[in-house]
Symmetry: C2
Subunit: 459 residues, 2 copies
Amino acid sequence: MAERMIVVGGDAAGMSAASQARRRRDRADLEIVAFERGHFTSYSACGIPYWISGLVPERDQLVARTPDAFRDDFDIDVRMRHEVTAIDLDRREVVARDLDGDREVRVGFDTLVYATGARPVQPEWTRDDVAGVFGVQTLDDGAALLDWLEREPRPRHAVVVGGGYVGVEMAEALVQRGLSVQLVEQAAQPMSTVDPDMGELVAEAMRGTGIGIRTGMEVTGLQERDGRIAAVLTTEGPIPADVVVLGLGVRPNTALGEAAGLPIGPSGGIRVDRRMRVPGVPGVWAAGDCVETLHRVSGMPVHVPLGTHANKQGRVIGINIGGGYATFPGVIGTAVTKVCELEVGRTGLRERDATDAGFEFVTVLAESTNRAGYYPGAQQMTVKLIAERPSGRLLGAQIVGRSEAAKRIDALAVALWNGMTVDEMTALDLGYAPPYAPVWDPVLIAARKAVDALAGTGR
Amino acid sequence: MAERMIVVGGDAAGMSAASQARRRRDRADLEIVAFERGHFTSYSACGIPYWISGLVPERDQLVARTPDAFRDDFDIDVRMRHEVTAIDLDRREVVARDLDGDREVRVGFDTLVYATGARPVQPEWTRDDVAGVFGVQTLDDGAALLDWLEREPRPRHAVVVGGGYVGVEMAEALVQRGLSVQLVEQAAQPMSTVDPDMGELVAEAMRGTGIGIRTGMEVTGLQERDGRIAAVLTTEGPIPADVVVLGLGVRPNTALGEAAGLPIGPSGGIRVDRRMRVPGVPGVWAAGDCVETLHRVSGMPVHVPLGTHANKQGRVIGINIGGGYATFPGVIGTAVTKVCELEVGRTGLRERDATDAGFEFVTVLAESTNRAGYYPGAQQMTVKLIAERPSGRLLGAQIVGRSEAAKRIDALAVALWNGMTVDEMTALDLGYAPPYAPVWDPVLIAARKAVDALAGTGR
């Protein structure tokens, strides 16, 4: 009889695991059942801001693979609108509720992949009886927001709560739709995913497009009129709003797993080993936004909800369940984003992370251009490096530029991944041609500057 | 009395050495004399095609630093239009001729930096008495070509001889000026700096802009009319031309050094050690297009004339002469170029290089896009990887794409530099966001494909 693999959660991590396992083992050998409580499998949540802005016209463009494609191409028994309500590790079965039929099914498993993703942080002041407040985690969230934006009376004043990637991207999307937008952020500045000196460049660009940035204040409540949002109340007074978007981040969605006894790590995610097995729970694997993972620079467990990690982790599980061998070696915190015509990249530790991890370090900022200075369209680019003192080992890097800037973080990410020192980096053989870089590449200029800073010469 | 450092050749390598040494030692301690036979110091030869095309309007935009700037800012005794005609190692002095005054001077040195650059390969069929045939190595070359292009009768039919970087860039520049252009290349295809499968993509793009590509033929002579070029003769017949541009590559300019007894390596360049000293010749250093350098992947000495290496090597010399410690660890053959709206990047070994070096390997081609497929402006990108069998170690990589493609080679270059295997690379934490990459980055897709190829599964 075929072994049965059950996948809980049909998005990036779970469906990568399923399809990768199927590539290695056929139906007679491995039956695969995937439960997804929503309406979609494998969609790009990261693409939602571009759908809201109108840049991506159709919702279905964000769906990488439909349930039918998984059924037809991978012979996976995908059960949509089925919410797993319990995992019974002793009996090795799951209990799932068919949300449309309101029936309950019990299905046994040999291996289980826990891939329930993350849930948005929901502030206490939201109220079910007041319309016009939206999260943007799922395609259903996006559809609800779009519907609100397009229905009369059309909203004109938006407040975005939270200045992380999603908040910043949503603020831009709403400006592009013609709304006036206020971004409310508790910290001293938005884009705290980079250090304040780099984040200020981003804040400036946002202000330049008309986004109002209200930092150092907290939303404490809301005002409604006829059941519709009218304003958010903050520690600095009310801000009128006829639509509110929440971008307060997400937390690992672990409740189901916790109830079943899966171990939770210090970051709040499900614990996993290098092969993405849940330690101490034979036959159970976990991946994606619900797990914690090793940060290779700090050595600490972290929760980094990002589709690219979910896909890789799912693939690792699929290879292992498929009979192969694969490990997920952790992350280094690489991320890129586009904000109001600025490109932002980061990898490794920020200054505050480096301090928290106990490192001593130097930081340098290098101003350069994306092309040779004389080549048309050359644009300014700022590269920041953080290097351990006295070893010179790279700990983190950030880039902000106007064009062709963000993906340059990849070269720095690979250098960081390999534990290079800034001194070694000054010799790196990077691509040079006038349309792409000055003769001293911005990355090399920054590395040289870091070497000087370590030597205390600063020259 | 101050030590005296003499620099022979006032371009990237020599002047980097000079200015870096000056940063560390002042005039009272180190006198620096630089001889340059031409009219310019530190200019961007790589920028000449863009000056010819009109993209860069002014010659002086290509000059990074003038002789006066070196004199005033770095206290370097720059002697322009002075050609060093002999190096006397026993007496430790150089003989230099003032090309304008026609005087000879003798100047003693304690340390000598040999940085004479490269000379263009000059085919036998060129004739001094026929006007209209140009190299494009120096600003003077560029000025002469521009003058010819702008003078009546205006040339309309150009032949570019040689399909390397310079030939390809010049062909495009001349098309942009409105000339009809034929590119003649001895090999089966232009852009042999990448493998034929990738080069064909480039050839196609060139044909698309109207450049005639004549491969597998050799230029054997020329036809003139009234002392002006009228046609080039090839093994496949004549091609009419009223202007000819030579792009046959360069050779290390070693004659002066050879005469003085400096050792020449198998690649034809001056031999140097890791600190850029000429071995066996105390006090003599060499850098830039005249030296050979270690290829870190093949382990062989190679001649790679490129401004970025010249600058780095010069800096290494300057640090060492300045009393510090620095080494140049070699190159891995990274290069990028823009050809007719295609972006091309390469690093490491091509298939033929890998074969020559004795490696066994697999190759994979991965088609992907520079952005998420649904994000506006997504363009195709082809990534090729060459990986050693069975180790999986990356040996080389090439990228061709329409937009935001070329500099992605840097991440692969850093991976190659660090000796990563394609298996390790599948886990790399590269930047992901819809405007910059699909959720599986093109580099990661290629790495996965290479892993499959090594396993023989090809899935």
